[in-house]
Symmetry: none
Subunit: 219 residues, 4 copies
DNA sequence: AATGAATGAGGATTCATTCAT
DNA sequence: CATGAATGAATCCTCATTCAT
């Protein structure tokens, strides 16, 4: 309904196919090259759009980038909300969270690479602009899940819940990075052995178990 | 002693002050702008060196960058090795690890921003070149600490030690990023509240406690 | 019609005036400075074109240069083909060849200087790229003229025709260089006396006579 | 005795081996890269001399280059003077000239590539400086040989002797270029067939025969 | 609305030459 | 006299953005 601050109205009017083509192409290129090295003219060409049009859709390179990230964050958020945070034990919820995170990462690896990019401090200005918009309700979900688990007596009462929520987010984020960034992949393999990135069961299990113990869950 | 593959012999010959000036300036600029946006000519000017000299010290912008990171990683490694991994309980060792990490981060915030940069996938090629060189013996330390704690009966025997070591590294890395990157700082404040980044005691405590519980340590 | 491999489609689209301005300017500058010392930005400025445009017309400095030479060679070839190689005695044909060569040299002296440039071995790579394209059908013409002259009984049968054709080409090439390159001009004046370069009649006459005798022609 | 205007006295004082090393290296590099692209610092390094010394021997890059050419021209001149222009028939003298030229070309191919370079008009300034110095007494020799042949009745009296001398020089020059420059080599092979550059007998024969007929020599 | 040609500031890198040691 | 570190102007090329059609 309310259009994004990162693209102009004209973008709303073009066909979803073209929108998708632009987004997909741009994500790939930005993920491949990084923000600075990415070339808008190339993106336009690859997406089958004139740069003229590109600039009628997006105010600037930065806006295109942010529109991408916003869209990806929305998708991630939607995916994470399918974790049914209210069903089952905390251990089961956590398991679902990690599975969803992995599935999303597999489906949108380039998008995940973009998250790494915005993390970088030379994107400070852009990041600032984004933080108002970015739907990241899953962060609230983490907290809610923990609160409920405490109420249900699954989790120890004396635990710093906010810190624990951050811990869970950390684990999710690092897992995603380990599955998408070459650098973190190498690092994971250093700890877990070669091809460890393919053993999803172990990844899910070790994360869930570690966090559950960290939360004082009996399981 | 053994010279780095990232700088030329000439760099060894100049005064430590000048070396330092170049490194400090370059770290600041790269941290500020990112690899692509950083301007070598500016770095040279700021460091009080002619670009001609700059290129007589470093083969390329990339090499300068990698020399920086290599140096920083060496420093980090040396710092982490001062954690006395053999003294005291696992809880005490972990506490020391986090305190050292925080101190390093405070002392070299720009360096930490550079770590974020190399994580990015458009730095893949550079990262690859680095991985052979990068001293990261603290990674082995994490594993050793855990093994010894198991032997001493501090840590449960049924735990996936490799995964646990990765977990510790994750926590350290995310803590460092939270203290240096604007993006992660905002994120931490979302979870822990404003100014939470200044409350080192809480950060250390929550990390150590969570990990210790995750390891099944009685404390 | 068929576009050259040395310039892009965009170059085809601009006005012939602008094309000509670019070519003329570039030829002058390259002839003046040589390939390496020539400055593309200067050429662009002199031609009244932005460098951005320049690079949208030509992939590189090298391509600009080769486009020039290709064009010049085409022109030379077309000019040489107007020698009516089938009309008159071999002596008359040769005379026409030299006159045409001189006229072309007078009209495109800078172009001739470029031929000298590509001759140079540090242009090896470029020359190689050119040789597939370069129209030099006049070389076949020389051979054809000689064959016909033999058939007509004008030229001795026992002569090495291929070597003779090369001889004619040598004479043409050296004449052109003597009229365009300061170095060869000085050399010619050493042999023929000052201002000899202006005495076209003598040049044509001595060349034709010498070659005809060399071919065993009665005249 | 009188030192060259192209190098300083200091150059005279160093060992002939070092002199030779510098000359040989420089010739190779200039022949390979051309004047502009050649790098004096590289030449110095390759020759085992510091650039500091290089500049104490030669005023500038240009002077180094000219000193090279001057030396080469001297050598060529000396070689050509071994043709015994007074012995035997004109045909025999010519044959000796071509053989000497070929031998010189084989021995100093890089030097011959340098001749091509100075021919180029962007070397105008340098060439001018050279022409005063360059020993090219073989040019006088050509004229003398012809005069004597006329006197001996070998050559027709009605021939333009100066033009004929130029013709001979042209043939020698083009032969040398055909044996050293990739461009002219290809051109020769177009006329004479592949590997024709190796058939020295044919080259000598066709040149001598053609010129002799051109001179009206009975043979 | 769409196009894509045009712009030109910007930036990594090279290299002839100087000069302090 | 020899050295080689230092200099910085110069150059090729890129690309975000504009705007006439």
């Amino acid at each position: 309904m309310s259009s994004s601050p990162f693209y102009k109205e004209t973008f709303d009017k073009i066909s979803p196919e073209k929108q998708d083509s632009i987004f997909t192409t741009a994500i790939t290129v930005f993920a491949e090259c990084g923000f600075d090295a990415a070339n808008i003219n190339d993106i336009a060409k690859l997406a089958g759009v004139s740069i003229g049009s590109m600039y009628s859709y997006f105010e600037s390179k930065e806006d295109l980038f942010l529109a991408l990230v916003e869209k990806g964050l929305e998708l991630l958020d939607r995916a994470m909300n399918e974790c049914c945070p209210d069903e089952g034990t905390i251990s089961e919820v956590l398991e679902r969270i990690f599975r969803v995170a992995i599935r999303y990462t597999e489906k949108h690896p380039d998008m995940c690479r973009l998250y790494l990019l915005i993390t970088t401090d030379n994107m400070k200005a852009q990041t600032e602009r984004l933080s108002d918009r970015a739907e990241m309700s899953f962060r609230e979900m983490y907290k809610a899940v923990l609160r409920r688990a405490v109420e249900k007596g699954e989790v120890r009462r004396d635990i710093d819940l906010d810190a624990a929520a951050l811990f869970i987010d950390n684990a999710v984020v690092m897992l995603q990075f380990s599955l998408t960034s070459r650098y973190y992949q190498l690092r994971m393999e250093h700890y877990l052995g070669a091809k460890s990135g393919d053993d999803y069961e172990r990844l899910v299990r070790s994360n869930v178990d570690f966090i559950c113990r960290g939360l004082g869950v009996d399981f």
